[in-house]
């Protein structure tokens, strides 16, 4: 229950809860004590990192392959009329079974104030799918804008490193404000206002049905992310992320943090799309030896790839099966 509450808190923009040292479990205190008694010199840590080798690309490769394959399946299904995955990301049919993007379905339902059976079926199917697979997993493993944004982020980080630009973070709570604004706009105006600017929908349709003027908007958002604010759309605007994040808060698929070998050097936070979820890896924050990362996490696996001590792992809660 506390996991769900903490997840929702972070999804809606609050900073992760900071517990006092007193409530820290005995085991964690022992881990800290052990680390204090056996301090690791910078040289040893550097050597350890060396031995671990450069950041793995295992999960990134799998993720990119999945993202490209899913989006390509849409394109191929239409172009070669193979009818495996028809439609676009907003709604589709997978070998005949209805699927509906949860946020698009929500917007349509708020605007239309009706839900036909096919949409109910599609929404329930997709809801169950993402409960099993981790909610915001949609963002990093499926959303085509995410991939474009990842490339924009690489450029952004390079430019910041060279001190050519500065990152301008926004208040994360603004995403919740957007969520409420777009929900109210759909409800009151009777039009799906968010869909006009939804880069996910635009890119998905452009891939399948051909490019249009709407891609100019996508380009502008990308430029904004490159030159002004890192991953601005996904971090501060996109309501789709909140919708899937809420679903993910009851998902058994999570990233799990184990404090034992962690050096708290923060490599994971540096690569993360939603670094606040990894605040628990800051020294003194974790209350238990194992902590589940909150549902604002997109399960992209970049922290797992980069962690030099394998302190972060995918887990399927309840199955005890570690990937």
């Amino acid at each position: 229950m506390s996991y769900i509450i903490e997840s929702l808190k972070q999804l809606f923009g609050s900073a992760p809860t900071r517990h006092s040292k007193e409530t820290m479990s005995v085991e964690v205190k022992e881990v800290h004590l052990h680390k204090r008694q056996n301090p690791m010199s910078k040289e040893v840590f550097a050597q350890l990192k060396e031995e671990h080798g450069p950041a793995s690309t295992k999960w990134r490769n799998r993720r990119w392959a999945t993202l490209i394959a899913i989006n390509l399946l849409f394109v191929v299904s239409y172009y070669f009329d193979v009818q495996i995955l028809e439609g676009a990301l907003t709604a589709s049919r997978f070998v005949g079974f209805h699927m509906a993007d949860l946020n698009s379905a929500l917007q349509v339902t708020l605007a239309f104030k009706h839900m036909v059976l096919n949409l109910v079926i599609g929404t329930v199917t997709v809801f169950i799918l993402w409960v099993l697979l981790g909610g915001r997993t949609f963002c990093s493993w499926v959303c085509p804008y995410h991939l474009l944004s990842e490339l924009a982020e690489k450029i952004h980080v390079k430019l910041v490193e060279k001190k050519l630009i500065k990152n301008h973070p926004f208040d994360r709570r603004v995403r919740s404000v957007f969520y409420v604004i777009f929900a109210l706009l759909a409800l009151v105006s009777g039009y799906t206002v968010f869909e006009t600017i939804s880069v996910t929908g635009i890119v998905s349709r452009a891939l399948i049905y051909g490019p249009g003027v709407a891609l100019v908007w996508v380009g502008l958002v990308l430029l904004f992310e490159v030159f002004y604010s890192r991953r601005a759309w996904c971090r501060y605007v996109c309501p789709i992320g909140i919708t899937y994040g809420v679903v993910g808060s009851v998902s058994p698929l999570r990233v799990k943090y184990n404090i034992k070998d962690c050096h708290h050097e923060g490599d994971c936070r540096a690569v993360c799309l939603v670094p606040h979820v990894l605040d628990v890896t800051i020294k003194g924050r974790a209350q238990d030896v194992d902590v589940d990362i909150s549902a604002d996490c997109t399960r992209c696996g970049m922290c797992i790839d980069i962690c030099p001590t394998d302190s972060l792992k995918f887990e399927l809660k309840g199955l005890g099966k570690h990937l």
């Binding site: 299904s77 907003t90 709604a91 599609g122 009777g190 003027v213 601005a232």
Partner: protein, 281 residues
């Protein structure tokens, strides 16, 4: 100054800097929120002005002047686009605001000729934006044909038509039952040779069905496919020395746009008026 006061000054300075940073972040967040919301609101302009009314696929949940329910219920997935055998349906771009990703038909380029018989687009729609309330082509209400430029009409001039209706480069397709029941072919591969131009009547999907039913061969062998009313007919122009005829649009017209598509003059003599349905006529 004692060490203590130096520390205090430093502290207030850094606290001041932090406050300043927070103030700036708040301002830029507010600006971004206003900017993005404002841009999204621009999307409402075309819909509220009502100047992007379009010829929509069969079953679209709309009245001639109000597309609100249709735009609201459409989930912008394009499944209707994918099932159309003549590729009549295309999706709106961002210039039409909240209409983005909704399907429409440019009849002059490619009309809906109902060659799927079963209203595939309606069946494909996951949200009911194309309502399942209709079962047969004759039930659709897309618009209503009108003779907008009678002077251009070949039949009214008593003229025939020989050749390709829309020229050799035209991409549009129609189903010609006598050639291939299952595959629509390009109009540019189907030359005509007509004593008097009757293309709008000859190619009208409603009229074709009525003729088939009269022969006892309704589409798919389904008697329900037979339209109850005629959609268009050529009637003699009184006292014409050249045997001229005039196309008259009848109650059965559903506004599919095939007449507008096939009409040889440029611009066409007959077009679909999307602000009118047969029941209002």
């Amino acid at each position: 100054m004692s060490d203590k006061t130096v520390g205090k000054v430093k502290k207030t300075k850094s606290a001041g800097r932090k406050r300043e940073q927070e103030r700036r972040q708040f301002l830029r967040t507010a600006a971004m929120a206003v900017g993005v919301t404002g841009f999204s609101l621009l999307g409402l302009v075309p819909a509220l002005r009502g100047d992007v009314l379009r010829l929509r696929p069969p079953g679209a949940l709309k009245t001639p002047h109000d597309e609100q329910e249709f735009l609201a219920s459409c989930i912008k997935c394009g499944q209707c686009v994918q099932v159309c055998p003549v590729e009549a349906i295309v999706l709106e771009d961002i210039m039409n605001g909240v209409g983005i990703g909704t399907p429409y038909i440019d009849a002059r380029e490619q009309a809906c000729d109902f060659s799927c018989d079963g209203l595939q687009c309606v069946l494909a729609c996951p949200t009911g934006a194309l309502t399942h309330d209709l079962n047969y082509p004759a039930d659709s209400r897309m618009g209503f044909a009108e003779l907008s430029r009678p002077k251009a009409c070949l039949a009214i001039q008593g003229e025939g038509f020989k050749g390709l209706a829309r020229g050799p480069d035209y991409k549009g397709k129609l189903r010609y039952d006598e050639i291939d029941r299952w595959n629509p072919i390009s109009v540019s591969e189907h030359p005509y040779d007509l004593e008097l131009c009757d293309l709008c009547v000859r190619q009208c999907p409603i009229e074709i069905r009525i003729a088939q039913c009269a022969e006892g061969k309704p589409p798919s062998g389904d008697q329900n496919q037979c339209p109850p009313q005629h959609a268009i007919a050529l009637e003699p122009v009184p006292d014409s020395p050249v045997g001229a005829m005039i196309p008259v649009i009848k109650e059965g017209c559903v506004g599919c746009g095939v007449c507008e598509m096939i009409c040889p003059p440029e611009p066409p003599a007959i077009v679909i008026n999307i602000e009118k349905f047969t029941d209002m006529a």
